[in-house]
């Protein structure tokens, strides 16, 4: 038996198949989950993939937060279920108040699709245990609203508790405050990441395979004994 990782497809999810591929490549079992069903199918962890859920109308992630599946996911996440939200998934986690702060329009006001170098700062979560603290990895940033913002008190709290998971190595490409590329919940089980690890799992199709660690970490941490 390997870890069963659920991937939620919302209407407008785009990177769901990429997340499925990454979970499989990491040795896990990918379990498709549907936005309209209040059912997590007993998975060990959940990935909220990138895309434009519900067209990102109103505000990115603002409608997805109310999807039936979220009614199951939010309490499960609060109870410790590992959840990784990438890009639009990160936005949904913020809208659902599973993570603090918000993602706003890139400072350049244009969509950015490029490879970025990020430094891993918290490797104590179920999603990052396979990395070394301070390790630099190349992931794929592709978003129009990727600038992380939070009020000063929240930010200093995040910094003090080690909740800044990853930071851009060079200047923040999108205006993200303090160069924040990803954060986690206090317990570390809920992770939000703006750059995409699932697009960096194979040198043939991406900048390398340094993103695979997010998935191998979870699969290893959750593998039934």
């Amino acid at each position: 038996m390997t870890a069963r990782v659920g991937i939620i497809t919302f209407p407008g999810s785009l990177d769901d198949q990429d997340a499925v591929r990454a979970v499989r490549r990491a040795g896990g079992t990918a379990v498709p989950l549907w936005h309209g069903e209040r059912d997590l199918r007993g998975v060990d962890a959940v990935v909220l993939p990138g895309g434009f859920s519900y067209g990102d109308y109103l505000r990115c992630g603002a409608i997805a937060r109310f999807a039936p599946v979220m009614a199951e996911l939010v309490p499960a996440a609060r109870a410790g279920l590992p959840v990784l939200g990438v890009c639009n998934g990160f936005q949904i986690l913020c809208e659902a108040h599973l993570l603090p702060g918000a993602l706003t329009r890139n400072s350049g006001l244009r969509f950015i699709s490029r490879e970025v170098r990020v430094r891993m700062e918290n490797v104590g979560t179920p999603w990052t245990a396979d990395y070394a603290a301070g390790q630099e990895v190349t992931l794929v940033l592709k978003s129009g609203e990727g600038a992380y913002v939070a009020d000063p008190a929240t930010l200093s709290g995040l910094e003090a508790r080690g909740q800044v998971l990853a930071r851009y190595v060079a200047a923040s490409p999108n205006g993200s405050v303090s160069g924040i590329a990803g954060i986690c919940s206090e317990s570390g089980s809920v992770v939000g990441l703006m750059p995409h690890p699932e697009h960096a799992i194979d040198p043939l199709t991406g900048p390398g395979d340094e993103g695979l660690g997010f998935f191998t970490s979870a699969v290893r941490a959750l593998a039934p004994a």
Partner: protein, 786 residues
């Protein structure tokens, strides 16, 4: 978007009583009633022809159908007679599963897979409203591919604008790029390449040509044909609104007061100013809805619930109903209740519903037994689906509006029996003088320092500069199958994760070459795309095209068009790659000034193992650098003549299709055998630009020893643009095997030097450090567009 308030036919809509309608009975009873056929773009002769076909005057709704279906955009009435050459001269092939006439051509790539691809213009809307014009261009071509039964897997775009520094280009270009980015990214389709070029001839007439690639299993092929009397006609997707009404025709086709019209894709400043009241309204796209439509249709196909399907693009319901019914055969008819079409604007009447170009709609033919499951899948994806009619065995397309018959026509008369014109074509008087104006008279750089600054100025010219400012706005990663994307010579997509089968695609065109010689220019566009596909190690297999020209009513433009078509058809025959489909865009002109004739050609190739793809960058140091092909002092229409002298004259580079074939074969075999570290085709700017691009892409310099240059120093060898050439670096240890392969294949191979070092060095002439190359190459677009 505001509606076209001056639509000549606007007959009442829902609130008006049915009696307000121009019914078939009324049309028969009032044969003399005047109808606004000219305002709808139909000539007097065309209107006469409709009355003969029907045996009475058309109803207003019928007139709407004929006006859009017989428009230049839908009927290809000025081009059809010439486009036949693509079929008549098609090389023998077993790869084509569906060809010209379908929504898109379908090509067998082996392993049970087929791919479908098509290039289409959205030029004029992108000038009027750059963001939505370009966005809906992407949306439209994606639905064409979806309608064939395929999953859309990638997009590309070929873009041409006025001068890069012109104020209006600052309005049009960022809007077009943002529109493509918005629609393609939200749809989850990787953008894998294309073109970006600038010329004053495109000011006011930008070219926005979008391509989509789809993949399917052989058995998934769907055709646009309604069959089986009793089957249901289902409209799915967006509600119908007043957007783009008559885009294809009202402002498009024929002569308004003797001049070029303006239309969906057929613009002209003169037409616009004369016809200010008839401004087209550009449609508004919703990529989220299209994403749902794509997933919904693919699930419907997989469930076997679709008998036939057609996308709704130009001419909307009029086009889909007539083409589906006509596609079913002479006995097939359809009964459609127009009042059951879901509307966004309840005031729309039958003619407007027929002509509306609202986006994100498809029309499917469904067996009654499968209807409930069909509607269930649509509900799952939140896609609205409405039964609007039935297939009949009458051979008549009948439409009712609240019970009254408003359309009763043979569907083929609108879909297939439009007028065909053999418009006068005449080689323009200025052509000879243009060709005689040879660039040989221009001052050439001689010293190393002059050559060096020439390279840097070409490298920073908008046509040759780094396109990252544009391509960074496009998602190239989504779906996880992108092997190569811009700035690679061609895009490359993995089709099968188990076998690593893939397809390569390149788009190329050169308006300067085509102005100098439209026959050769079209062939050179094909040759370049063919070469670009080959430079990835793929085997070129099939061709699509978008033919962008001025007004067909100008005999000089018509001559350019006929020459380009003849050139392309002849070259496809020699290269053994059939044309599978394409698009013609006329009326790209302002007043009497047409754009350069600009045939844009897309070539698709199959790659048996994408892990062995070749890419442009010098991957490592110490590799032998080899120039393949024959170099001549060919500078007519070159990047150098344009950038250094603002000169356009002489003849374009000679076409040598046998040499292109030989080169492609050598590249494919070298790639398969793993002999090469990199490969890059030579095109604009010749060897000098190619060397710089290879250095920059790989982060690796090189040292070049130019062989004796008999034709006036090293300049022509560095900047000449002879076709059928590529620059490769050879895997250490494979030099002898590669040399033998070239010799056996009849491809001249000149050893130029070796890769490595901190810059590009032309021994005995000049050198440029990599960072200086990079800043010259990278600064232009950010400086212009922010």
């Amino acid at each position: 978007m505001t509606r076209s308030s001056k639509t000549p036919i606007r007959n009442g809509g829902g609130q008006a009583g049915p009696s307000a309608q121009d019914t078939v009975a009324r049309a028969s009873a009032t044969p003399g009633r005047a109808q606004p056929h000219a305002e709808l773009g139909l000539s007097g002769a065309e209107y006469q022809r409709i009355t003969e076909l029907l045996g009475r005057r058309p109803t207003d709704a019928e007139l709407a159908i004929y006006s859009v279906m017989w428009s230049e955009h839908c009927s290809y009435k000025s081009s059809r007679a010439h486009l036949r050459q693509f079929a008549d001269k098609a090389p023998p092939t077993t790869a084509l599963l569906a060809g010209i006439g379908q929504n898109a051509g379908v090509v067998d790539i082996g392993g049970g897979y087929a791919v479908t691809f098509k290039l289409e213009s959205h030029n004029h809307p992108s000038y009027v409203e750059p963001f939505q014009g370009a966005a809906t261009g992407v949306g439209g071509i994606v639905r064409d591919i979806l309608a064939m039964g395929a999953r859309p897997v990638a997009v590309m775009d070929s873009l041409r604008f006025g001068p890069a520094e012109a104020p209006d280009t600052r309005r049009v270009l960022p809007g077009v790029v943002a529109g493509i980015s918005f629609y393609g990214n939200c749809l989850g389709l990787p953008n894998i390449g294309g073109e970006l070029a600038f010329d004053s001839c495109y000011a006011g007439n930008p070219l926005v040509n979008a391509l989509c690639l789809g993949v399917m299993r052989h058995e998934d092929l769907k055709l646009a044909a309604a069959t089986g009397p009793g089957n249901k006609v289902v409209l799915l997707g967006s509600r119908t609104g007043p957007d783009g009404i008559g885009g294809a025709s009202v402002l498009a086709s024929a002569s308004f007061g003797g001049g070029g019209g303006v239309g969906e894709d057929e613009g002209g400043e003169a037409g616009r100013s004369r016809q200010a009241a008839k401004r087209p309204s550009v449609q508004v796209g919703d990529p989220f809805l299209e994403k749902l439509l794509v997933e919904c249709c693919l699930e419907l196909y997989a469930a076997g619930l679709v008998v036939g399907i057609q996308d709704l693009g130009a001419a909307g319901v009029a086009c889909a109903t007539t083409e589906l019914a006509a596609g079913g055969g002479p006995d097939v008819g359809m009964r459609v209740r127009l009042d059951s079409v879901p509307l966004r604007d309840a005031s729309l009447g039958p003619a407007e519903i027929l002509m509306s170009e609202s986006q994100e709609r498809m029309m499917a033919i469904v067996e009654p037994a499968g209807l409930e499951r069909f509607l269930g899948i649509c509900a799952k994806w939140d896609v609205q689906a409405t039964v609007i009619g039935d297939v009949t065995g009458t051979g008549r397309l009948k439409m009712t509006w609240h019970g009254e018959l408003v359309v009763d026509i043979p569907p083929g008369s609108a879909a297939d029996q439009g007028p065909v014109y053999l418009r006068p074509a005449e080689r323009p008087a200025w052509q000879a003088a243009l060709q005689a104006d040879d660039p040989a008279r221009l001052n050439r750089p001689g010293t190393g320092q002059e050559l060096r600054s020439t390279l840097l100025s070409l490298l920073s010219a908008p046509d040759a500069t780094d396109k990252t400012w544009v391509t960074e706005q496009y998602d190239r990663y989504v779906r996880g199958n992108t092997i190569l994307a811009q700035p690679a010579d061609a895009g490359l997509i993995r089709v099968d994760e188990g076998t690593f089968l893939g397809v390569a695609l390149a788009l190329d065109g050169n308006g300067r070459y085509s102005l100098l010689d439209p026959y050769a220019g079209a062939q050179l566009a094909l040759a370049e795309a063919y070469r670009n596909v080959a430079a990835t190690g793929a085997r070129p297999l099939a061709v699509t095209n978008c033919l962008n020209f001025g007004s067909p009513e100008d005999p000089a433009v018509m001559w350019q068009f006929t020459e380009a078509v003849r050139g392309l058809a002849d070259a496809c025959q020699v290269l053994g790659v059939p044309v599978t489909g394409g698009n013609v865009s006329f009326y790209n002109q302002t007043g009497d000034a047409a754009i350069h004739p600009t045939p844009v050609v897309g070539v698709l190739g199959v790659h048996d193992d994408v892990r062995r793809r070749l890419s442009t960058g010098f991957g490592r140091a110490g590799c032998r650098l080899v120039l393949l092909g024959r170099s001549k002092a060919e500078l007519g229409g070159s990047l150098w003549a344009r950038v250094a002298h603002r000169h356009l004259g002489g003849r374009p580079p000679a076409v040598d299709l046998a040499a292109e074939r030989a080169l492609a074969a050598v590249l494919a075999e070298a790639g398969r055998a793993g002999l090469l570290e990199s490969a890059h085709d030579l095109s604009d700017g010749g060897l000098a630009i190619a060397l710089a691009e290879c250095c920059l892409a790989g982060g690796q310099g090189c040292t070049v020893h130019l062989p004796g240059a008999p034709e006036g120093g090293v300049f022509p060898l560095l900047f000449g643009e002879s076709a059928a050439r590529a620059l490769v670096s050879v895997r250490p240890g494979a030099e002898a095997e590669f040399a033998a392969l070239c010799q056996g294949g009849g491809v001249p191979a000149a050893v130029l030097g070796v890769t490595g070092g901190a810059g590009l060095e032309i021994a005995g002439s000049f050198s440029v450090p990599l960072d200086e190359l990079a800043s010259a190459h990278g600064a232009t677009l950010p400086a212009l567009f922010g």
